[in-house]
């Protein structure tokens, strides 16, 4: 076991904080991510990470907690994108692109000012690429509460959200406010991005949002199964990333260890690639179908009556 679990792993405070924080943000990202992929809003999700960067950088500059900055940035960004027209498919990319460009420019300024004024180059690294091992343990409950609230919102709007993802016309015809549901989802997405930024950095939070969700969607047939699998993949990926990053302190005596974010993103990417191989997909689909027939057969009397 020592090959994988280096000494002191589970007794280390920062590791435990990182594992708890990582699990929470992985779950929130996975749930929100499945809907993001289904709604083809990955680009919007990515743009929010850039606005979160601006918020995080700005907050550090004025001495406010980066979490507040990340959240504030991405939620304001979501509002701006909604106002410009992220709801209409045609102007969606345009709205996203404009907000993204403006935000990135501001980030550049804030990060520049920070590094020149305080001479701490680490801040740029921390904002962009995360610092899960140096997160203050008191942040975890805040993240957990906000994450739980986000999950509740998604659970409450899941049916209108799914229907309006299938067809906004059909959804409006049933009396749903497609715009309202879309805005609620954008805010949930923004909070998710903000929370993830504190763990693996604003720039890389897209990976945890889209990666596990996209992989899970490839392998499942229902939203519920996609969401559950995405959560499992997200948490597994994050914990494996933390483990490898911790281990990497020991790989080379002179090294400082490699960043967690790097491992998380690499594992996510590898998972997506592997499940994209046709032979792998066929195998999983086959298993699904077999499982499906078995279930259908055993539950046939119930299905006929309920």
């Amino acid at each position: 076991m020592h090959v994988l679990f280096e000494p002191g792993l589970l007794s280390s405070g920062p590791v435990r904080t990182a594992a708890a924080l990582g699990a929470v943000v992985a779950i929130v990202s996975a749930v929100v991510g499945v809907f993001t992929v289904v709604r083809s809003q990955s680009f919007a999700g990515h743009a929010l990470t850039d606005v979160a960067t601006t918020g995080g950088a700005g907050a550090t500059l004025v001495g406010v907690s980066p979490l507040a900055g990340f959240l504030g940035g991405s939620v304001i960004g979501a509002g701006a994108m909604d106002a410009i027209g992220v709801q209409r498919v045609r102007s969606r990319d345009l709205a996203t692109g404009i907000v993204l460009g403006a935000a990135t420019g501001l980030s550049a300024l804030f990060l520049y000012l920070e590094t020149t004024r305080s001479a701490t180059t680490g801040v740029t690294q921390q904002i962009l690429f995360g610092s899960i091992f140096t997160v203050d343990p008191s942040t975890v409950p805040v993240v957990a509460v906000l994450g739980a609230a986000t999950l509740l919102v998604i659970a409450a709007i899941r049916r209108p959200l799914t229907l309006s993802s299938v067809s906004s016309e059909v959804a409006s015809a049933t009396g749903i406010s497609v715009r309202g549901i879309g805005l609620a989802f954008m805010v949930a997405l923004a909070v998710s991005v903000g929370l993830t930024s504190i763990a693996i950095g604003s720039i890389l939070s897209t990976a945890l949002l889209i990666g596990p969700a996209a992989t899970a969607i490839r392998l499942t047939r229902t939203m519920r199964a996609s969401v559950l699998l995405a959560c499992a993949l997200g948490v597994a990926t994050t914990w494996l990333g933390i483990l490898l990053a911790y281990d990497s302190f020991y790989w080379d005596a002179s090294s400082q260890g490699l960043p967690v974010s790097f491992f998380i993103v690499s594992i996510t990417f590898a998972g997506y690639l592997v499940t994209g191989i046709p032979a792998v997909r066929r195998r999983v689909e086959l298993r699904w179908r077999r499982g499906g027939t078995v279930r259908a057969r055993t539950s046939a009397p119930i299905a006929a009556g309920g």
């Binding site: 409450a156 993802s165 299938v166 015809a173 009396g175 749903i176 499906g292």
Partner: protein, 280 residues
């Protein structure tokens, strides 16, 4: 429903479109469109592309407000959320991998407009099975919607719309892009829905021939104006010529109808003047 309620429901038209007009930046989209549909009637909303059929459907659904006129459903002005109307779009654009199965979409017909955490009851799941059976979609009930053919998708969308037990089903070009066999099947299915379940059907199409055997009523639209009545009343040279604003020939060949617009006609039609028009 009480006996008096039932009598009233039978007497009141399911849908009344009364003098509906709409202009858009100076261009007339719809001009004084009037017709009504009764319970269990199969109505074809016929016209070539771009004559305002979709706009008319959107007005009936309450998604767009007309400049003039009124739409009444069961005698009542349009409300924002009208469960008496079922709507079926031409198709839905979803990636093949999107994890929403045919049966999931049908179930959303029951509760897709609801917020909250309620789980579906056994009765609701029964109803989904029943609807899938009614449209003959059991074979692909567990397939993802993005992987269905056009005809299969139509069946599922019809089941989605019917599950809330509407009085009127609105379908926007459901037969476009379907192969001839699927067209036959969908028309037969809708005819069954109208006659067996008493659901009124308003179906838009740019060609009427597949619908001739089942249509109780036709609403023929061109240039934003409409004529309605039985096929025999409406699809005649005098009526359509008046509607088009220039001479139109109506040919009947082997039980099929062919509408031929005069070359060089003066009506503001979206069709090229030399074309053999509209209804093949």
């Amino acid at each position: 429903m009480t006996a008096t309620g039932g009598d009233r429901a039978a007497a009141v038209p399911v849908l009344e479109v009364d003098g509906v007009g709409l202009s858009f930046s100076g261009r007339t989209i719809l001009d004084d469109v009037t017709f009504e549909i009764r319970r269990g009637e199969f109505t074809g909303l016929i016209g070539s592309n771009g004559v305002g059929k979709t706009t008319l459907l959107r007005i009936i659904l309450g998604l767009q407000r007309p400049d003039t006129g009124e739409v009444r459903v069961l005698g009542q002005p349009l409300a924002k959320r009208n469960r008496s109307l079922g709507y079926v779009p031409q198709k839905v654009e979803l990636d093949a991998d999107v994890p929403i199965r045919a049966r999931d979409l049908v179930a959303l017909g029951l509760d897709g407009h609801r917020l909250g955490f309620a789980r579906r009851t056994r009765e609701q799941r029964d109803l989904v099975e029943e609807m899938l059976h009614a449209v003959d979609a059991e074979a692909f009930a567990d397939s993802r919607i993005g992987r269905l053919s056009g005809g299969e998708q139509q069946r599922v969308l019809i089941a989605y719309a019917l599950i809330s037990k509407p009085e009127l089903l609105l379908l926007d070009e459901p037969l476009a892009n379907l192969d001839p066999k699927s067209v036959q099947e969908i028309v037969a299915l809708l005819h069954r829905v109208a006659t067996d379940n008493g659901v009124a059907i308003l179906l838009s199409a740019h060609e009427m021939n597949a619908l001739l055997p089942v249509m109780d009523r036709i609403v023929y639209v061109t240039g934003g104006r409409a004529a309605s009545g039985t096929t025999e009343e409406v699809v005649r040279s005098e009526v359509l010529s008046r509607l088009y604003g220039h001479h139109v020939d109506v040919l009947r060949l082997h039980g099929r109808v062919l509408v031929v617009a005069e070359p060089g006609g003066t009506a503001a039609d979206d069709l090229p003047a030399h074309a053999t028009v509209t209804v093949d």
